[in-house]
Amino acid sequence: MATNPMSQFEVHSIGPKIQIGNFDLSFTNSSLFMVLTVSIISLFFIGATQKKSLVPDKIQLIAEMAFEFVSKMISETAGKDARPYFPFILSLFLFVLVANLLGMLPYSFTVTSHIIVTFALAFFIFIGVTIVGFAKHGISYLKLFVPSGVPVFLLPLIIVIELISYLSRPVSLSVRLFANMMAGHTMLKVFGSFVVSLGILGGWLPLGFAVALTGLELLVAFIQAYVFAILTCIYLNDALNLHH
């Protein structure tokens, strides 16, 4: 068994090597878990909406709860105008949540512990929100960078600061998720290896820590998915309802 706590994050290809141009498009364990995540969500919702009874059974209840949770989150943070983006936010939330929870299973791979995955998600949100803002407000969307009531001689500085703060959104969004997942899983692995190296005499304390950390990690997995989705809502709100 590998004792290196970082070895759990290694990406290796499964199956044949596929190379197109300069890009290595082989199917990796990361892609496998992304496919697994998407298929679990799809199968779950297909199964849950099969009966559509008025009094829901357990599976249907969970699906309805997830649906309502996201629906409430959108209406609270982004208002009515954000309704059309509900499917996007729901799938985003479920993808991050299920990827995080799948990573909690032993011997599995955590997709969201790689910054390239989270950054790709955050970057597309960023581009999408910017497009939505320009489509809705036209060129006056640039007013977002000019807060009202600022003296004219300060404007050049303020605009640069606002621009930086706008551009830092995808970075902060992606780094948060990635750092939380990676730190948590590394810590779990370190405590796990303490259990092995301390043996039956001293291993009980780190074992207790590992159990407690597993609970904490489950909480973090949920919270991070929630934060990812709610921040998307907040950014969408900024784009839809321009006010400063």
Binding site: I164, L167, S172, I223, V227
Partner: protein, 91 residues
């Protein structure tokens, strides 16, 4: 008559329970908001410094823009933190 009273008691108990659960879900979301603050600060500084580095490379003015934008980035980070904490207070 007794049955109805029993039922009422049961309902009260259960509604108390759900109230508790609601408040706990709120606290978990504020924990998420707290986690948000730290990365906000770092991200602004990082992005600004990166932009500064590439402007320097373009105009061969090392290290003027890197330093200048580093400070601007810190300002933007602080503004970000203040803004999101204001948003938490509003809720």
């Amino acid at each position: 008559m007794n049955d109805i009273k029993d039922l009422e008691k049961k309902i009260k108990k259960l509604s108390l329970k759900t109230k508790k659960e609601e408040s706990s879900s709120k606290s978990s979301s504020s924990l998420g908001m707290a986690m948000k603050l730290s990365s906000e600060m770092v991200a602004a500084v990082f992005v600004a410094s990166l932009i500064g580095y590439y402007i320097d490379k373009l105009f061969k003015t090392q290290p003027f823009f890197l330093i200048f934008l580093f400070f601007l980035g810190s300002v933007a980070g602080i503004i970000n933190v203040v803004r999101s904490s204001k948003m938490i207070n509003k809720d």
